[in-house]
Amino acid sequence: MADIAIAPARRTAPLPGAVDRRIEKSAPLTRFVLRLPEESITAAGAALGLDFTAPINRAVTAGYRMALRLGPDEWLVLAPAADAAIPGALGAGLADRLFSLVDVSHRQTGIRLAGPHAGAMINALCPLDLGSAAFPVGMATRTIFAKADIVLWRTGIAEFHLEIWRSFAPYVVSLLHEIGREYPD
């Protein structure tokens, strides 16, 4: 047992410095990789209040919770850092059904990129078609940005949320900054 008093630990975010004027660091989030075999999908949705039947590469939100379906059986569940109820709710809701839940809150970090050139800036180094027909608001997928793997989620017509592994985050942000130098806003 600890025999000295321990002060609450300080968090050090993976993106320490200031970022681009178009780039906002997201607040700390709780993040889980949730894997669900077919038979657990509905029950898990009921437990967390999220629609897990939505198609692959879509985001669903309910209140402050969000889930991005990144694979046929894979969801990235996001919630404010204070939401500590997810594992418990799933455990209770799924009882003896199979699922896998892994906490990745610190594995990655989020940024929000917004503005009229947000799509073009991402397309500088991401090969996806980000036209609004091919990549509508609500679409979310893992993809490539230069030499980094990212999760790209379109949260608005000119607004994207990116999830990036922490050690790649400075690289992605520096690239976006470099790309953004030629755009006025």
């Binding site: 692959i56 990144l70 694979g71 090969p127 996806l128 997928t141 893992r142 993809t143 490539i144």
Partner: protein, 87 residues
Amino acid sequence: MLVISCPYCGDRPEIEFSYGGEAHVVRAPASVTDEEWTAFLYQRSNARGSYAERWRHAHGCGRFFNARRNTVTDFFEQTYKIGEAPA
């Protein structure tokens, strides 16, 4: 950069994928002869023309799947999920 149709995600750019070599090479059990083991481990049809191969949508849904591609033109004939039979 090819366009590859992931059976889960649809058409996506090649750089999201990793290559998995020839498909339908069944892993030999430990009981096989040296020749059979060597065939499994090293010998590939390496076909010129229609070729069954594996890809993984590594920077996407993460799934492995199979494809048939013409190795002369690089055009895909089809892609299909693991466990499914080619059309």
